[in-house]
Symmetry: C2
Subunit: 399 residues, 2 copies
């Protein structure tokens, strides 16, 4: 994706187009701000760690790509394979299908209007899985499949406690809908799928382990109930980064779908999924205002560079909008907090007197609260090893 060349010194350089000026970038310090930075060493480590973890837990890894939305990261996340993925938009599905990924789960409840595009993807890749939790969505799939002579690969979405989407596994309607999927000649009923997003309300890894156990037990119990009714439940898919990080064993589960772990973020550090040194995504920023009397700095990373996710306020009410770290080696800057964000201004307050070295031009990185939302603010990521810029990745945007 990048326009990489070898520089005269043998360094890999990147060509950036800023207005009419073409610059050759070799080091982080030459990047303009605000800008998204991906630490490749950390990202590779996170990818390998989850691959190893899935193997140890005896489950398939179907990583979610919604956090980064770019092919280069997905290839690292799948250990070089272009196979199993989870996506959150049809634009992602199209992008990754084009890149050769051939077993894709579109993991949001289906809009009836999306059915034709899902049919096209079903014909394009080896397996394209959709999820449903409502008879109206099944009606739409069956009607289209009948008219166009195809079969959809379908998971039943289950609510295991997040109370966002999914059938209630204790309800008779859940069994009825599963039975309908199982019997339909237009459906290839793959199994059941859930996301224990309530794990984001946990305060530590021990609480997340409890949510993980509940997620696993709910799904295994529900599968047993369906099997007791004579239904084939080939796959049980679960996953969120906090639960998969915390869980000890996953008997009965066939696949996991974590996504955020590849980047991690300030939220995940606060609830114990990782430490700050694991976070592979940050936003490079420059001080544009310094107000010593108010112990305040203004930086050029505002809500459009960091998003406006309030973060883990249940763990730390003063968490602010991210963690300020040093530009070159990502060490925390103690006492400096991102207290407010407007569109293009980030306001930092210092607990003590401002360091006189902090003035317009000083650069930091900010580890955002929620890397999925912050990464989506950027149309390219500057990929670094240490402070050397080694690549430029372009995520897919929109729907």
């Amino acid at each position: 994706m990048s326009q990489s060349t070898l520089s005269p010194t043998g360094n890999q350089t990147q060509t950036y187009d800023y207005g009419v000026v073409i610059l050759r970038i070799v080091n982080l310090r030459e990047l303009t701000t605000p800008g998204a930075v991906v630490d490749l060493d950390r990202l590779e480590r996170n990818a390998a760690w989850m691959t190893h973890r899935a193997k140890k837990l005896g489950v398939c890894l179907r990583p979610h790509v919604k956090t980064h939305k770019c092919v280069e990261a997905a290839k690292l996340q799948t250990a070089g394979q272009t196979k199993r993925l989870t996506v959150s938009t049809l634009a992602e599905a199209q992008e990754f299908a084009t890149a050769g990924f051939d077993d894709i789960t579109y993991a949001v409840p289906l809009s009836p209007k999306a059915v034709p595009e899902c049919a096209r993807l079903t014909r394009t890749v080896k397996r394209f899985n959709v999820i449903v939790d409502h008879p109206v969505a099944v009606d739409a799939l069956e009607a289209y499949a009948h008219t166009h002579d195809l079969r959809f690969s379908v998971f039943l979405k289950v609510d295991c406690g997040l109370h966002r989407a999914g059938v209630d596994p204790d309800s008779p309607e859940a069994v009825t809908l599963a039975g309908r999927l199982h019997r339909s000649s237009r459906m290839n009923f793959r199994g059941i799928l859930t996301h224990a997003g309530q794990s984001y309300s946990c305060r530590n890894r021990s609480e997340a382990a409890n949510v993980a156990a509940h997620e696993r037990d709910t799904m295994v119990t529900f599968a047993a109930k369906l099997r007791g009714e004579g239904l084939t439940v080939a796959e049980i898919s679960i996953g969120s980064t906090p639960t998969i990080t915390a869980v000890d064993r996953l008997p009965g589960i066939s696949e996991i779908r974590p996504g955020n772990y590849l980047f991690f973020d300030a939220f995940q550090t606060a609830i114990g999924s990782c430490v700050l040194e694991d976070v592979a995504f940050s936003v490079l920023t420059t001080v544009v205002g310094a107000y010593p009397d108010a112990q305040r700095l203004v930086v050029d990373a505002g809500a459009l560079a960091l998003s406006k996710d309030p973060g883990p306020t249940h763990v730390d009410p003063d968490c602010g909008f991210g963690v300020v770290v040093t530009e070159h080696d990502c060490r925390p800057v103690p006492g400096l907090r991102v207290t407010s964000l407007s569109q293009e201004h980030g306001v930092l307050h210092s607990d003590g007197p401002l360091d006189p070295a902090w003035r317009p031009g000083t650069r930091f990185r900010i580890v955002p609260n929620h890397s999925c939302l912050a990464a989506a603010c950027h149309d390219r990521y500057h990929v670094v090893r240490g402070t050397e810029v080694v690549d430029k990745w372009r995520p897919v945007r929109g729907w």
Copy 2:
């Protein structure tokens, strides 16, 4: 910008590229979701209203384009002229300079690294104004201007109570910095500029009128002080949508820079800047999940379509993440609130039982809390008159 053609029936149609399928869109109901919708009738009315208001107040209007970031909207906002504008990024500055706007104020404090690009813009348009509030930024401007033989057009940024950026007008440093700008052979000192963003903490128009009076008085008093020191203060620039909406008179002020008013949003309705029928921006969305037992719907507009601005919680702690309105005529849907947002899911709760007509496929629009942030989630706006899609605008993104 759009690929408009006349349809056989004489309707203007729009060509949209969804994957490999090309559709001709003539009506709102044919759009895929989530999508940004701009109501052209309302936008034109808001534009004309502010143009009239500036005239009545006896001030120049230098509208901020950061809310919409597209040339078509800016032309309506400037009554067809391509002259005076305010921008929040250098990418906007470049876009609008290319479109012929020739008097542009870059209204965020200057990063020293941005100086070369500001110099290029200074040479490109008739007047390119930067703002400063720190000696380091002035050092950077002077050094560059000296080496490259040019003069920068500069405003001194003043803090009138927001406590984000700007010099304290009561401080001796403020007068010293203004004096330096006034005397510098490399600066064309235009005057003083402020933004009373604390108006967003107001609960109604009466409170905003008080903030507006304070904004005006602070600036007029500070200008008098500088003039008393022998400095020429040609211009006094103020503005935010809440203050300009509420203010009765602006003696001594030369220009105003509101921006949000062109779209307005749920926040502005809550604090009394406008009524819901004035809001020209909304996000079209589809129900993808319906859970009657929980009185809950899930729609396909999540944090990546609406942004995650918490909204006017100081006026209404239960405001949620926007106002749900009907798809075709934007009437409020009472009792239906956007209670949470994750990346691609919006969760709506109903105060009463769910209307049985609400099921997967039902469409609404959501008026976001903060249109500046929500609009930035989209790479195109569907422009409508009533329910007819009449244009497609592409905003500029990034920095």
